[in-house]
């Protein structure tokens, strides 16, 4: 086992083993005005890691819009918050747990959920929803099935036990993620504005407590080693750096934390997440402009013989750092006792701007707070477009290859592709009803719709991202992730309020990856501006590479939106004779899309160009039509184009009904059926609403046409092209993942 004794000499090898560059080490010496000791070196390696310090990304993240009248808390806190009216705000954030999940999928996913829950309830918000955005390799691979099964179980077991419904998310399967799956979890919480708690260590002299679980050796170097380097064949040896989750303790911690915030017993609260005690204590002091002194000898431990280094760097789960209000320490301890949680005084807030660690009276670390938090190196460099992009974009199959594909066969293939198929096998393992606010849960729409407790208001939430798009054009890919999220909100009648993002990329020290990152950030920023949806929280996950290759650059967007009155939610229903209206132009664009990837098995071309003004106009229009009941259902046209959207719209209708779609022409139908051009929706329009809708859409100037109708024949048909039994298509779409997971042997 690694030596972590405080008197270990700091040699060049030790510095390199901590992932600290020589120039960074020189800067540390300059800031300390001396050489760091071994423990201090470990602390710098954590706080200056990409995972904690964002040294490659922070300069670019400032391009995101982060303000707006609705913003209650912007970036920089444990999570962001936006106003939802009636004195309430929602607190939300998305975070990755990719590498832990690659190595130990059950615990990796479970502790990912645990961490993001704590980021939200540490701010005083009761978590009301979880969503998960997952990426895996192909289900043909037995190890991928093992990862998928255990990630889903880990997510479910943790959220189910804590009692927070998992109401949505997405799962994408692509070879690009084979060695490095992505597990991004988003949590949304609710609070009254006045209950917002920040992670600050204010008031010199105030006592600092550790609330919750004791500290063990698990997770040491999780942030610096596991999260900030590429995966390799030896990564399985890192299994001890994956933390173990205890959702039962989390539930107690949740209740105790909310109770102590409500009772005003605390001045500041912060989750001891990545980099544990080190990051929580230094960040809280930095936010308050104070110092902090911790006696690691007082921190309750799981095992004897732990060194200060280990206590400081442990990532044991379900722990909170609490700064008590001076006359409220008794109240704090009483609440901890009620919930049977240990709560131990470990130090105090100081005024000397130092992060001081002592053990049994002896000083172990003495570092200016600013050196750990604000002096993190920032790396910005100019890189040019990597050569692969031109290759990929030029490689698109010719029209003859496309025209030779049987369109109805292609539709069947798309609907049974794991990425497009129903994720029922996944979400039936998640409790999506608990707390009884779920109006539209998983499988009902592309965004979840929740009742905001105690009001008539609805909160819509979605996660979206398309790594293939971002690989083929990072800037468009970044924009399209935001645009897709906004379309999904529009379809349930909601107006976007704010965004959280999880930026999953390869190794940023490589020029191609760095280019992808910078361009994707620009694309996201542009789209967020167009939708007036500020980015209030987020997370960057670099080094997502396996020995084979880097993952697709995968920016994932979590978006929340408001529906002021739940009475205006999509009416649903559907009857023979209803019209199916296409809002937007007919499709032509197949580049980088699902048709090429899933049917022709090629990743090529560019994703569709993004017209942000049209996206905004059409989203606004759809939201209005849904709210007014002119559109009983709305379905955006995305993966797999009009044909997949029409089939999925049909699957939402009463069982005996079918759908008939007319294409602009019968020859060269592939673009119209499978094109993924932007700003397009299918609307289900009740018979009595068509005339009114006609006037509204014509006045809007947006391109539109009546593209088909609901029939009482249970068929999905494309006039002049072909038809299929709805029951058969739907049955396959609903069960394809289940069949693969339940009939194939599991292997590691």
């Amino acid at each position: 086992m690694t030596v972590t004794l405080p008197d270990t000499p700091v040699t060049t090898e030790v510095v390199a083993a901590h992932g600290i560059r020589p120039d960074e080490y020189e800067r540390i010496v300059e800031l300390l005005e001396r050489e760091p000791n071994f423990t201090e070196l470990g602390v710098f390696s954590l706080m200056w890691s990409e995972h904690c310090g964002y040294k490659y990304s922070r300069a670019w993240l400032s391009e995101f819009p982060s303000g707006g009248p609705q913003v209650v808390q912007g970036p920089g806190e444990n999570a962001g918050a936006v106003d939802v009216g009636e004195g309430l705000a929602v607190v939300f954030k998305m975070e990755s747990h990719n590498h832990p999940s690659a190595i130990e999928p059950y615990q990796g996913a479970a502790t990912g959920v645990g961490g993001i829950l704590r980021d939200v309830f540490t701010m005083g918000a009761r978590p009301i929803a979880m969503l998960d955005s997952l990426r895996f390799g192909s289900l043909d691979d037995p190890h991928v099935r093992y990862l998928f099964r255990h990630v889903v179980r880990g997510v479910g077991d943790y959220g189910n036990c804590v009692g927070v419904p998992t109401v949505g998310g997405e799962v994408v399967f692509d070879d690009a993620y084979e060695g490095n799956p992505l597990v991004n979890a988003m949590c949304v919480g609710l609070l009254r504005h006045e209950d917002l708690m920040r992670g600050t260590a204010a008031g010199p002299g105030n006592a600092v407590y550790v609330l919750g679980a004791s500290t063990g050796r698990d997770g040491i170097h999780g942030a610096s080693k596991l999260a900030s380097t590429e995966l390799s064949g030896d990564s399985a040896e890192s299994r001890p750096t994956v933390q173990i989750g205890d959702p039962f303790t989390e539930k107690l911690l949740l209740e105790a934390t909310l109770e102590l915030i409500a009772s005003a017993a605390a001045i500041g609260v912060q989750d001891m997440g990545a980099a544990g005690l080190t990051s929580s204590s230094s960040e809280m002091a930095a936010r308050a402009g104070t110092g902090i002194e911790i006696d690691v000898g007082l921190v309750p431990r799981r095992e004897p013989g732990m060194t200060p280094y280990e206590v400081l760097l442990s990532e044991s789960q379900e722990r909170m750092l609490v700064v008590a209000r001076p006359d409220q320490e008794e109240a704090l301890l009483a609440i901890a006792d009620k919930w049977d949680l240990p709560c131990t005084r470990v130090g105090s807030v100081t005024s000397d701007h130092l992060w001081r660690i002592v053990e049994d009276g002896e000083e172990v670390c003495r570092i200016p707070v600013a050196a750990l938090v604000e002096e993190v190196p920032r790396y910005v460099r100019e890189v040019s477009e990597p050569p692969y992009l031109a290759d990929v974009q030029a490689r698109e199959p010719g029209p003859q290859t496309v025209a030779s594909v049987d369109p109805m066969g292609a539709l069947e293939a798309l609907l049974s592709a794991s990425t497009i198929a129903s994720k029922r096998w996944v979400w039936e393992q998640y409790d999506h009803h608990v707390q009884t606010n779920t109006i539209l849960g998983p499988g009902r729409a592309h965004a979840a719709l929740l009742r905001i407790p105690g009001t008539r208001r609805g909160l819509a939430i979605t996660t979206d991202g398309n790594g293939r798009y971002a690989y083929c054009d990072p800037r468009r890919g970044g924009s399209l992730a935001v645009v897709e999220a906004a379309r999904n909100l529009a379809c349930v009648g909601a107006l976007p309020l704010g965004v959280t993002d999880c930026l999953n990329f390869g190794n940023p020290e490589k020029d191609a990856v760095y280019y992808q990152f910078v361009e994707a950030v620009r694309g996201i920023a542009e789209a967020c501006r167009a939708f007036e949806a500020p980015v209030v929280s987020g997370n960057v996950s670099f080094y997502n590479e396996s020995p084979a290759a880097a993952i697709y650059p995968t920016p994932t967007i979590g978006m929340v939106g408001l529906l002021e009155d739940l009475e205006d939610r999509p009416r649903g229903g559907g009857a023979a004779g209803d019209s199916v209206v296409l809002l937007g132009s007919d499709g032509t664009h197949l580049g980088a899309g699902s048709f090429l990837a899933e049917v022709l098995q090629v990743v090529a071309g560019r994703p569709p160009a993004v017209d942000l003004a049209a996206e905004r106009r059409h989203a606004d229009l759809v939201r209005m039509l849904v709210r007014e009941g002119r559109a009983a259902l709305a379905h955006d046209i995305g993966d797999g184009g009009l044909a997949v959207a029409a089939a999925e719209l049909c699957f939402a209708l009463p069982a005996e009904l079918g759908i008939e779609v007319e294409l602009p022409r019968e020859d060269g139908c592939h673009g119209a059926m499978f094109g993924e051009d932007g700003a397009r929706y299918l609307l289900l329009v009740p018979a009595g609403e068509l005339a009114g809708l006609h006037d509204v859409l014509t006045a809007s100037g947006a391109p539109w046409r009546v593209a088909g109708r609901v029939t009482d024949r249970g068929l999905v048909s494309f006039a002049g092209i072909g038809e299929r039994s709805r029951a058969e298509l739907q049955g396959r779409w609903e069960t394809v993942i289940e069949e693969r997971m339940e009939t194939m042997e599991e292997e590691r």
Partner: protein, 232 residues
């Protein structure tokens, strides 16, 4: 605040406590009262609900530890004296562990947690909680559990059937108790049962999640209405 006081027991790890509290509070003639697991006094409540969740983390066996908490001694005496007690999901598991209901709840046959909308058939209207339903009536409550597979020996099952103590059964939308409609492998599609005196009922599905058409079903209202009347 008026109405019969109904106690909702909170164990560490109970997570449907607020849902049940809201369901009781929304019921005419009932008043919701919290009962903390460490308490040894029932505070004069006239009905009790054990809510769903993962009491004590379900770490030994679902409901196995909760059964030994201070409050449970009182709940058992209350039930034995004829007071109405309803156990939902984890609450049902606790009632079987406490010996107030026969049988046990094992891991779901497919070994994974299952959350879905579920059709149920009311097979006994002879309990406080089902008096507002007709025998044979179909209702829809969500299920959400990992250990809901009801087992008991054949003799016990026959007796439950014979005495009309199978209260809720998993069925399809036509009312047929098929294997496909059974979410967890429960013996004879049993979703909920009553004790000998019919004042104690446990079920895996969640009537507390079926209180409004906005969330998909309001069939659960009758269960709480019955509870309020029994407690009056």
């Amino acid at each position: 605040m008026s109405g019969a006081p109904i106690g909702i027991v909170r164990f560490p790890g109970t997570n449907c406590d607020q849902d049940v509290f809201d369901a009781v509070a929304a019921t005419d003639g009932a008043r919701a009262v919290w009962l903390w697991h460490k308490e040894t006094d029932l505070a004069g409540v006239r009905g009790i609900v054990l809510a769903g969740g993962f009491s004590y983390g379900d770490y030994l066996r679902a409901g196995a530890i909760a059964r030994f908490s201070p409050i449970m001694e009182r709940v058992i005496r209350f039930a034995e004296a004829g007071g109405p007690v309803l156990g939902i999901c984890n609450g049902f598991q606790i009632l079987t562990e406490a010996g107030l209901l026969p049988g046990a709840l094992m891991r779901n046959a497919r070994l994974s947690f299952v959350c879905r909308e579920q059709w149920l058939r009311i097979d006994s209207d002879d309990t406080a909680f089902t008096r507002h339903f007709q025998r044979g009536q179909l209702v829809r409550f969500p299920v959400a559990h990992g250990e809901g597979n009801y087992v008991a020996d054949e003799e016990t099952l026959d007796r439950l059937e014979g005495e009309g103590r199978v209260v809720f059964r998993y069925v399809d939308e036509t009312g047929a108790a098929t294997a496909v409609a059974n979410p967890n492998g429960s013996a004879r599609n049993i979703a909920g049962i009553a004790g000998e005196r019919r004042n104690v009922v446990g079920l895996m599905p969640h009537p507390d999640r079926a209180m409004s058409l906005l969330v998909g079903s309001d069939d659960g209202r009758g269960v709480f209405r019955g509870l309020a009347e029994a407690a009056a």
